[in-house]
Symmetry: D2
Subunit: 375 residues, 4 copies
Amino acid sequence: MTEASPAKWHRAHVTWFFEEFVLRRDPAYVVYDESYRYLFNSYYEAVGERHPRPDRGLVTRPGVDDITHYRNYVDGAMEEALQRGTLDDEALDLIELGCNHEQQHQELLLMDIKHLFSTIPLTPGPLYVDRDPDPSRTPPPFGWRSVSGGVVEIGAAGTGFSYDNEGPRHRVFLEDFEIADRAVTNADWLEFIADDGYRRPELWLSDGWAHIRQTGRHAPGYWHFDDDGWTTFTLSGRRRLVLDEPVLHVSFYEADAFARWAGARLPTEFEWETAALAVDDRRAMLLDPERCHPGPAGGAMIGDVWEWTSSAYLPYPGFVPANGAVGEYNGKFMSDQHVLRGASAITPAGHERVTYRNFFPAPSRWVFAGLRLAR
Amino acid sequence: MTEASPAKWHRAHVTWFFEEFVLRRDPAYVVYDESYRYLFNSYYEAVGERHPRPDRGLVTRPGVDDITHYRNYVDGAMEEALQRGTLDDEALDLIELGCNHEQQHQELLLMDIKHLFSTIPLTPGPLYVDRDPDPSRTPPPFGWRSVSGGVVEIGAAGTGFSYDNEGPRHRVFLEDFEIADRAVTNADWLEFIADDGYRRPELWLSDGWAHIRQTGRHAPGYWHFDDDGWTTFTLSGRRRLVLDEPVLHVSFYEADAFARWAGARLPTEFEWETAALAVDDRRAMLLDPERCHPGPAGGAMIGDVWEWTSSAYLPYPGFVPANGAVGEYNGKFMSDQHVLRGASAITPAGHERVTYRNFFPAPSRWVFAGLRLAR
Amino acid sequence: MTEASPAKWHRAHVTWFFEEFVLRRDPAYVVYDESYRYLFNSYYEAVGERHPRPDRGLVTRPGVDDITHYRNYVDGAMEEALQRGTLDDEALDLIELGCNHEQQHQELLLMDIKHLFSTIPLTPGPLYVDRDPDPSRTPPPFGWRSVSGGVVEIGAAGTGFSYDNEGPRHRVFLEDFEIADRAVTNADWLEFIADDGYRRPELWLSDGWAHIRQTGRHAPGYWHFDDDGWTTFTLSGRRRLVLDEPVLHVSFYEADAFARWAGARLPTEFEWETAALAVDDRRAMLLDPERCHPGPAGGAMIGDVWEWTSSAYLPYPGFVPANGAVGEYNGKFMSDQHVLRGASAITPAGHERVTYRNFFPAPSRWVFAGLRLAR
Amino acid sequence: MTEASPAKWHRAHVTWFFEEFVLRRDPAYVVYDESYRYLFNSYYEAVGERHPRPDRGLVTRPGVDDITHYRNYVDGAMEEALQRGTLDDEALDLIELGCNHEQQHQELLLMDIKHLFSTIPLTPGPLYVDRDPDPSRTPPPFGWRSVSGGVVEIGAAGTGFSYDNEGPRHRVFLEDFEIADRAVTNADWLEFIADDGYRRPELWLSDGWAHIRQTGRHAPGYWHFDDDGWTTFTLSGRRRLVLDEPVLHVSFYEADAFARWAGARLPTEFEWETAALAVDDRRAMLLDPERCHPGPAGGAMIGDVWEWTSSAYLPYPGFVPANGAVGEYNGKFMSDQHVLRGASAITPAGHERVTYRNFFPAPSRWVFAGLRLAR
């Protein structure tokens, strides 16, 4: 999968971020290796030419040990710089951004490892986490929460860290709406499949129908049907489907078709944020290195699984990207992507926020992504 | 270009629409040729299998005369049905939709002819309209119109015909904004080119930058530079660039990059509609078969050139597609497309509306599409 | 199909050949239209830039009438030149080459028309020739003819016209061999299918197996199976399979797999030519405009169907292409193509020769191509 | 590059060969891991489904240590079987084939490592062999050796090991010919470049010209031009071009175009073998692990660099593949490939033979391949 990167690349790239944007500000800093700038820049045009993404998997040198050495070198330089106490506010802001950037890549790394492990044709395959199976229970029916509309405020208020794409805080008019009190579960999805959800064009966006016809998709990512029924691949290997878990690894197209089938729709990101504020202090599963998998679908809106919204990923009114290369962090991806809200069971705790805007193209499935209904 | 269709296909398809959705409602109607249903269905899944779009250009049979015969047959049956006076309201609504559908295809047909003629390597090439060149004048600088925000009403009120995607009428919150009092002109675009607009990644969305690098695009569609300067291809053949005309045949990516270069942005479709209501009764150039080309950029917002907005093409709150196959008319395309507003110099008069939502994918350039700045 | 060209292109191209290589030799000749040189050059690099082959189908101008006018113009100029009697030997040779070139395109034109007609989803579809069905009889078993080897002479002796690739005449050592006394028939092919010929990888070349897996091919080109059994598409429309006709429209891969299944092999082109010399004065079906289809498989080796050989298309020892642009006629295609020998039921009479080397890439199927076994 | 495989895959695959074809013959043998059969089968259809080749690079498990363990396990079982002394002749033949198979992969492994190292954007890059630069001398002009033709015998006589594709030994008629007394050198190739060899379509096969236009190739593989002139990549890193070395890493297309430019041609594989027999006991550079690179072009025909011939890779008269899965070793690749003769500086000593037929598709360049002229 060309979107995925090797583990060592992720490690080198988050290290490079600190070297490029923080350490290089000091003319006395001795760069570790100039060629790393080319190898480990992901997409910053302002920094210069980059190694092509699909070739990342082919770079056998520098090796794992070289990257560890690079990491130690940059860590040492960062510690020294912090201890000198001479870093200006801009540098400190960039360090905060670098830490958040690294948290993001922790999630990407787990997504990529899951995908890679799923492709290895060994039985048993490799385990990232060794743990017992979860019990599978029929989930109770979900209920609707009513939310009042009107002119609401959306976006980050600017207290504490947030990405540039979460602001400026601004007003949006919402009609009254209802939103489900839990995410869609695997049990719900089995009903969709049983009702020929993947075979009825009237349920699908035109692009989505073309996509599933071309790819032959007929179930969420990692699902597999055999004599004993449905299984799914997890970071603990292939497992029997757990009925009351939120469905994972569906594309935007699938989420949208499911909602139409259910006589409902996806919430807009503005509805989602407004609804989530009422349950803001509750968290579903965030990253637990001993688990790396959601728990049963419950009432909290942040955690377990990213939720596709119906919103296209667009700039908020008055959005201005940051100056310099880091201004490329978010803004330039604002076309033909779709917003996901919440967080997932592999999002590091502390990285999640009610105003957080995650985004991916419509067909993406290696994200820990599900959905919640609205109407 | 796989998006384009032959003229005879357009003619057969708009004819088929009346046969499929109006005439077939009468069990006594004798279908002209069952195989035409397969050949001339464009994208209605509910109607059955379709001939693949990229193969349209290869169908040498039925020929031009066959299609004329088909048209006459269906026209006769329609007249008869109308004269009998037994058509119910649903049928009459479908006829109104069919007429609007045909107007849409009149514009598509001219877009396709323009593209096709532009590829023919003869000198002189074929002319669709034979007319004298327009004078080229330096356009006056544009001004900004201020528009007050607040909660505004958007969408079709339901009096008179409109497409389903123009409703329901609903409320949107807008901040105060300013919008340019004319479209961006060819003269403006020459400044963008001269200022290396196509070579500065910081001006472009990531997808847009990848797109122009891959395609080598470095000027609007149909533009060509030779010893005597810039020319553009028109339905009257290749012509010297007219400075004060609205720029035509730019993609969403180009429109977005230009706006960023100009220190402005594209308006949202809600801002556009709100601003246009004030000048609603004024029209720029609509389809004049003796011209098929915009006039100089002026104050009216509807006509001359479709204007890219910053809005993704999404359903309005409460949107419900029509029942049956015609429900596929608009709704199922609501992903990864971008809204254009206004109308163009090849839009049939009477087809334009201030609430009209045109939509195309971001890279499209064979549309008569330009832009207007906002801030 | 990108290998096919429109009928009018073929007509213009064979006309262009005379203009380009004969008429332009006279400085007084007034070229009909300079842009035709770009449009109707097929592959002669030495002549200049060419219109891309896959776009040929899109050129609506010049139209059919324009091409007729062009043809008349060139015909007139040719007649005049011939009557003046001032053409030198090189010009006369080029005229002979031009006539043979035109005969080749007569066959290509019929191949292209057959393919095009086969794609038109009308019932009944268009007919090129309206004629009664042939009777279908079980063919008698074939026999083996023994041919003695030794050092044989291969290639055109240089008396009468031949293409450059048929010479120089040279010596080849052959072992004794046997060759079938008729081509493989449709009846034979049905046995191959019934014996799972398309499902047994051990019968196929590696490239051939990959090709049929990727394309899903499971029968010769134009064959179709329905409730009433197998049909094939002909220039007289879709017809019930005639058992004793030579199989048509098989690729090199299919021919090779069939031969392996039959415990035999394809002949080399040298074996084929040596064997054919004994029956040289007999002809199977050549082009009959009222038929355009083979008759029952018989004893003559030239006619009915081109026969794939096991030989790669390579230069004969001492081969030297002609001088100038016509030197590109044959030699530059001598890589990764396969030789077919004989002639087909759409080859114009007089164009066939026992030394004729036809050649196509291994997957090609729109050729009137079959096979004959050897061992 | 999808043709290349990771080092650990090569090691596992040559190990698997012994397990699959030798050890499994003993019903008592305990298979190491059934899933390895799927992972490390390269192309044997008769053995079952295979892991797709382009995904080989993605398999992070089994790891390098696992493969070493697998190797030790199979080595142990092989030693045991040999010591028991109960292996029948067929098994012993398969062991001999397995050893030759492993030698082949030793060469492929070095080709793949060279390619992989060349893509790593580090300065200095990784070295496979650390050694001093060779002196670069202007090579002396080459001379022509005359060889008498007539009916010659070609192919392996069956004494000692040879691959099935080297037989049966058979008679071929050759005209008298001349062959160069050394391979084409880098110095020769610089003349070709200087004379616009890559820009003159008349020198190229049609497929070859299309290929270099599409890929932009304008020099042999791994060559690079900078301020100090031409360098090439070697297993000892990037090095200044050595003038008197044989040119390496040219495609069949390039070899063929060079020969045409030189007023000569490539030899057929029959000419090559006949000419080489006279110098049969002389060897140029074969694999020296401390060098892995040719020496200066000299008089021996076997070693330094594989030499493209003009022959397509086809079965010899009477060729019959071996029984069972190993029958897939060579025969099924006999379409659209080109024969190379000789051996290269990374061919293990003892693996080379005067009748050896190497083969690759025309565009291949990661092979240690050059050419020798004939006329």
